[in-house]
Amino acid sequence: MSFINYATREIQLKIVYYGCGLCGKTTNLQVIHQTIRDEAKGSLTSLATSQDRTLFFDFMPLTAEAVRGFKTRFQMYTVPGQVMYNMTRRLVLRGADGVVFVVDSQWDKMQQNLESFANLEENLRLQGDSLDKIPYILQYNKRDLPAVAPAKYLEFVFNNRGGVRRPSVSAVAPRGEGVFESLNLVARLVLNRFVKQHGGKENADQQFQLA
């Protein structure tokens, strides 16, 4: 749920990185944190196990000059990918305005990717939302590894809901490839929906067309 404060001229929106265990969600936030200028970011906080696996969530606030006359704050979260932490995923997903679904492109991770995608649909349904309504993009990560599925195959499997195509990005997150593209795409979708919902106008050149 977004939040508009006319007293402080501030808009807050929540973006959640979702996907199976070890698909690269935390790496996305780490790369954004390393590369974005200091004025636009807060500290990156990770609630992780001793093995650096996300236990509760990673969190980082980002500030953007996205809406004229307002400071736009994006609250960036990751969920824990491991199957057993589903209750935690539900808590973190609450009130999300947009989702980046990170797919591990390796063949042997397909089952886990599919389970995580189904889990996202189910958890959205439980909070009265759905993938038809919420802005989301797909990030096909780990494209540099040897045994990866072709992008066309991933598009067919994950980007074919009801014949509607969502934006998708190929990524190698540790090298930063596709990370900012994903951030910009999801931010555009979220803000375009926000502006539409609140009676604003999108300029044609700012409007993001779905693929």
Partner: protein, 161 residues
């Protein structure tokens, strides 16, 4: 759906929070929502309110699930007690939380005592805000997006020294 706060709402919240701060001898008070957004705060000068809000909302949500596991409807409040500072979190309604940080020279009992009327006032205020809905105030123009290239500025070169 969005929470829309106008200056009058924020002024009223500041009055309630400042009163609680004074009466309970607390160091900082914050109103946040269950998604982790900070709605307003007073006194958090040397702490990051956004991080406290994100973690506080997470802690409270987790404690609710624990309550359900134990057959309780909910734990209405959560207290974290430290050596120098403590934290008190309680629900205002199903969407909003009140977070209070106080030093251990203040009493937990006083914080809990004065948090109760503060919660009642905030609950009434938010009932009005939710009833009003998320429409734009009449004196405000509609939102206009800036050029996306300017949103996050240019990323810095991570490899640069």
């Amino acid at each position: 759906m969005a929470f829309v706060l106008v200056p009058k709402d924020v002024q009223r919240m500041h009055i309630v929070l400042n009163q609680l701060l004074l009466r309970a001898d607390a160091q900082g008070c914050m109103v946040c929502d269950f998604s982790g957004h900070v709605l307003t705060e007073v006194g958090f000068d040397c702490h990051d309110p956004m991080l406290i809000s994100a973690l506080g909302a997470g802690v409270f949500a987790a404690s609710r699930e624990l309550a359900r596991l134990l057959g309780e409807n909910e734990f209405s409040s959560v207290i974290h007690q430290g050596e120098k500072r403590s934290l008190f979190i309680c629900a205002v309604n199903n969407d909003i939380l009140l977070v209070t940080v106080f030093s251990n020279s203040a009493s937990v009992g006083l914080v809990k005592l004065y948090a109760r009327p503060a919660v009642a006032e905030l609950r009434a205020l938010f009932a009005g805000i939710q009833e009003r809905g998320d429409s734009r105030p009449s004196n405000e123009q509609s939102f206009v997006l800036n050029d996306p290239k300017e949103w996050f500025g240019s990323p810095v070169d991570a490899s640069a020294p």
